[in-house]
């Protein structure tokens, strides 16, 4: 007779939920409409503060913010870092190359190592879906997803909402056409959800092979005809992700044919339509160079608002959404 006492029983507690006092921004799906409106309001307060000569606020003095980037990035990593500095937090930037990651350290062990410094926030970018969730589970810090594979990039969606609202004065009822490689785009997945949350209308325009089967369930229309952008207030052009195009996958016959049929050019836009792009742009592929540099393009605004929106996100996570003025006053007192 074998009884339990005679052999090893492997004990496994189910994954513990993250401590309840830690808040994360892992996906647009984590946000309510109230959250979005509060974050955009906070970002507006920061925008005002940035017009001052001295741009630094004491709000997060003594806090530690780590950025952990496993993928190359210019605008996202720089704007998170600057956002943290503008709020007077201590920052620590880890890049996958040149760190223990190069020596084969697992994400879990890297997260545990960083957690030993007791950071308040860890900002993670990783090529694999679910990496920020893993960091959130093991680190004890508040985690911001700065892009995980093809899944989510929630701060990009927030800065896009901010940009649209600043330009058009509203979000409710705005019609946005997303054009291009939806299949490989975390920007598209985040933005579709965010636009749906605030009552905007979304049309996806792409070659049939770059529209994921079942994407309509997110609450958007789809079209394979570039003519479908005509009704939109904003034409949001997605990057044609050449680095994610597996050789021989044949999503499109050629970039040349893609540009001819789906490239956003001045001829395909009507006057007054705003043009956005998350960068970096493949000029002449998904977006004509003249349009990118033209008066209707909001691309630089997107980069600029990225800073205040990320300040708002960091601030919100660490002050549980208290109004900016009150918290700043508290710090000064």
């Amino acid at each position: 007779m074998t009884t339990r006492g005679e052999f090893r029983v492997v004990r496994e507690e189910p994954l513990p939920p993250a401590p309840p006092d830690r808040r994360h921004l892992l996906s647009v799906g984590d946000l309510s409409r109230d959250d979005v409106e509060r974050l955009l309001g906070t970002a507006r307060s920061f925008e005002t503060s940035l017009e001052r000569q001295v741009k630094k606020l004491p709000t997060l003095r003594g806090r530690t913010i780590v950025t952990l980037f496993y993928e190359s990035s210019t605008r996202t990593s720089s704007s998170f870092e600057l956002a943290a500095k503008r709020l007077s937090a201590d920052t620590l930037s880890i890049r996958a190359s040149g760190s223990a990651v190069d020596k084969g350290e697992s994400l879990k062990d890297t997260a545990l190592t960083l957690a030993a410094y007791d950071p308040d926030v860890i900002v993670v970018r990783h090529p694999q879906i679910g990496a920020p969730q893993l960091v959130a589970r093991v680190s004890g810090a508040s985690v911001v997803n700065a892009g995980d594979g093809k899944h989510q990039h929630p701060t990009q969606a927030l800065l896009d909402l901010y940009t649209i609202e600043a330009e058009l004065g509203r979000l409710e009822g705005v019609h946005v056409a997303l054009v291009g490689d939806v299949l490989h785009s975390r920007v598209a997945r985040s933005l579709i959800g965010a636009l749906a949350l605030v009552g905007a209308r979304v049309t996806l325009v792409a070659p049939p092979t770059l529209l994921p089967l079942g994407i309509e369930a997110l609450g958007c229309d789809t079209s394979t005809d570039i003519g479908a952008i005509a009704d939109a207030d904003v034409v949001y052009v997605l990057r044609m992700q050449q680095e994610r195009m597996e050789a021989g996958a044949n999503y499109v016959p050629s970039l040349r044919e893609y540009a001819a049929r789906w490239g956003v050019t001045a001829e395909r836009l009507r006057p007054g339509q705003k043009v956005m792009h998350p960068g970096p742009i493949n000029r002449g592929v998904e977006l004509d160079a003249a349009v990118a540099d033209g008066p209707e393009a909001l691309i630089e605004t997107q980069v600029r608002t990225g800073l205040v929106v990320r300040m708002a996100v960091l601030y919100d996570l660490l002050t549980t959404g208290a109004p900016v003025q009150a918290a700043a006053a508290l710090e000064v007192a």
Partner: protein, 433 residues
């Protein structure tokens, strides 16, 4: 073909349980007496004859389960599972027999490797184990393994499980040549050019999460191909871990046309859909992936009507550190031996989707029949292969630990209903709680 550690058979009386053997047509409250490992008497108020008595009042005593699809990870990954730990897990799950897949390191593709495993099982298997051998050398899909010699040495069946036999010509040859044995081929149906880099079922959930898709077609196209080949060669064919509606429909049609084809389905595909992947928990990642509602409904229907005659756990242990990674980096596979009955009692029988009798048959007689194994039966003179089940008992998966060396259960932390209280395998009480 089935081997286990030598041990003295038990004398035992199980008193007052509801004895339920759907194949033998028994459903009555009875005492069961086991003398020297053989069922010696069934009746009311049996004299214990000095045997140890197990109280069965309020419990169900059924033929023990047979799992036709288990990964024991031996040789090669004994850190994940051994024959000893895997068969203890099987005992705790109510199994009296299991079949181990050959995708080990080295692959079970030669009489030498198979012979060493059989010897090891004789030394440490708590529950009788049979071994499948590879269809092709190294499971590389290039040259046939020595099916004749492997069969002579006791291979129960042949499989390249984990991967398909990609070439239709080689699959055809394998079917033809397998006629020198009386053993079936058991195939993992996956068209790799359609599933390549796929992480989960293609549908609204993969669209939202951004995972590379592994469409249902990747399975059902290959199922159709292999059924056609089996039909042409008039050879038996077993389809492993079916997940898609299209596969089930093809199997049903083939069976109606007289093809000697069988299928199996896992508890996780019967209980869960791709919605579970929203958690991004690597324990929702397996091959084939969890599919849509419509697929799940088709699997349940096929299990009910007998198109799929067997439940198989596809118990696939993985080291903790290999599963504690982002979903995309995690290996495919989940454990299932210790939770199979509770999972299906909770998710199919309780909600009224499947009768208890059907579940018991599909977990025991069905798989035994397909692979020509001894069929567990509650009748005087039969070897005792019994499971005593507490259908009222609720428990939390993992709270008590696992007998398996791995903890990657797809049910980890869940509350389930239905618990194994006693397992008698080949005349020996191998588990009791």
């Amino acid at each position: 073909m089935l081997v286990r550690r030598e041990a003295r058979p038990d004398d035992l009386v199980v008193r007052g349980a509801r004895v339920l053997d759907p194949v033998a047509g028994i459903d009555a409250v009875l005492d069961v007496r086991i003398d020297g490992g053989t069922i010696a008497a069934l009746g009311e108020d049996l004299h214990p004859n000095g045997h140890r008595v197990v109280e069965g009042r309020g419990l169900v005593l059924a033929p023990a389960f047979v799992d036709p699809h288990v990964h024991l990870r031996t040789p090669g990954r004994e850190d994940e599972e051994t024959i000893a730990s895997g068969t203890r897990a099987a005992a705790a799950g109510g199994f009296c027999a299991l079949l181990a897949m050959p995708n080990t390191d080295p692959v079970v593709d030669s009489a030498a490797v198979l012979g060493a495993l059989v010897d090891l099982a004789r030394a440490e298997a708590e529950v009788p184990v049979g071994f499948l051998a590879a269809i092709t050398k190294g499971q590389r899909g290039e040259e046939l393994a020595e099916l004749g010699e492997l069969s002579d040495r006791g291979a129960v069946a042949f499989s390249d499980d984990g991967r398909p036999v990609e070439s239709p010509a080689l699959m055809r040859r394998a079917l033809q040549y397998s006629a020198v044995t009386d053993r079936p081929l058991a195939v993992h149906c996956e068209e790799p050019s359609l599933s390549r880099s796929g992480q989960m079922h293609e549908g609204a959930v993969s669209a939202e999460l951004g995972f590379a898709p592994y469409p249902s077609l990747a399975e059902s196209l290959m199922v159709e191909r292999d059924l056609r080949l089996a039909e042409a060669e008039s050879r038996p064919l077993h389809l492993l871990h079916l997940s898609a509606r299209g596969s089930v429909e093809a199997l049903r049609v083939a069976q109606a046309c007289g093809v000697e084809a069988s299928g199996e389905v896992t508890p996780h595909h019967l209980s869960r859909t791709d919605e579970a992947v929203r958690t991004l928990d690597p324990n929702t990642k397996m091959n084939p992936p969890l599919r849509g509602d419509d697929d799940r409904a088709a699997l349940i229907e096929a299990l009910r009507d007998g198109t799929i005659a067997a439940v198989a756990t596809d118990h696939a242990p993985h080291a903790r550190h290999e599963k504690e990674v982002p979903f995309e980096a995690a290996p495919f596979g989940v454990t299932g031996l210790e939770t199979a009955f509770a999972a299906l009692f909770t998710h199919l029988v309780q909600p009224g989707l499947l009768r208890l009798e059907t579940l018991l048959e599909r977990m025991s007689d069905g798989p035994a029949r397909i692979f020509g194994l001894p069929r567990p039966r509650i009748a005087v003179g039969e070897p005792a292969n019994l499971v005593l089940l507490d259908l009222e008992r609720r428990w939390r998966v993992g709270a008590d630990g696992f007998r398996s060396r791995s903890v990657n259960s797809w049910l980890l932390g869940e509350r389930v209903r239905g618990q194994v209280r006693l397992t008698v395998a080949d005349g020996r009480a191998v588990f009791q709680r």
